[in-house]
């Protein structure tokens, strides 16, 4: 079973539709495609957001994502995976991350997409800093805290040990 895998980090916006079309091109064994798009919301914990800046660890971030894509391939019979993660400054409404998974059957595509997102949230070396939109003057930048709920979601996939 040959699989097309794309992992890309970039400042620029991505196009979910064209990434999904690339995975499907020229093959008739794909029955299910799941696309997850993460978007910069206009508020963070109730506070209005002016923008978000994503810092990443160049070199490590891409390697970590590739490692997780390979783990997903071992775990589910996937026919294609694309992960695109943006970095730099993003404004509300802009897309942050894209995960596309293709498989013969929907359960595998859904599970792999959730697995990859859970791991991106907790293990990929990215850090979000938000600029809150103050009333009149800028209220400065705040590093987003990691959520325990995200750790719990990631732990679903490794019931015995939390970290690899």
């Amino acid at each position: 079973m040959q699989m097309a895998a794309t992992v890309r980090l970039q400042c620029e916006p991505f196009d979910a539709g064209s990434e999904a079309a690339k995975l499907r091109r020229g093959r008739g064994d794909i029955g299910a495609v799941v696309t997850f798009t993460g978007i910069c919301r206009q508020d963070e914990a109730g506070a209005p957001l002016a923008a978000m800046t994503l810092e990443h660890y160049p070199g490590m971030a891409e390697a970590e994502i590739v490692r997780h894509v390979e783990a997903a391939e071992r775990r589910w019979p996937l026919l294609g995976v694309a992960v695109v993660h943006r970095y730099g400054r993003l404004e509300p409404g802009e897309e942050i991350v894209l995960v596309v998974t293709a498989a013969a059957h929907r359960q595998d595509a859904f599970a792999a997409a959730e697995f990859l997102m859970d791991y991106l949230k907790t293990r990929a070396p990215f850090w979000k800093q938000v600029e809150l939109a103050g009333s009149g003057r800028p209220r400065g930048k705040i590093w987003v805290d990691a959520k325990q709920s995200d750790d719990a979601l990631a732990d679903r996939w490794t019931p015995r040990r939390a970290a690899e």
């Binding site: 660890y57 490590m60 390697a63 990215f126 805290d145």
Partner: protein
């Protein structure tokens, strides 16, 4: 020489994104290194004031605080990740 890299608020507190250091003999683990770094000045003490929340990577792979640093070329310190 060992290259250190800092990210997010660890980088901001220390005031630089990276530096080269020569850790003294006896610094065997990531945890030892954090303790040693935190004695180098106020900015380091501030960055490592709660070492249990700091994550580390050796040569671009996640490691735990008790990981040996022998042979490492690049060690990074950062807060818990918030990607995705």
């Amino acid at each position: 020489m060992l290259k250190l890299r800092y990210f997010a608020w660890v980088r901001e507190r220390i005031g630089k994104p990276e530096e080269e250091i020569e850790p003294p003999a006896g610094i065997a683990t990531v945890s030892d290194l954090m303790i040693w770094l935190s004695q180098r000045g106020e900015e380091y003490a501030h960055a490592f004031e709660n070492p249990t929340v700091i994550r580390a990577a050796i040569d671009r792979a996640h490691v735990r605080a008790d990981a040996a640093i022998l042979g490492a070329r690049e060690i990074a310190f950062f807060p818990p990740m918030t990607g995705g």
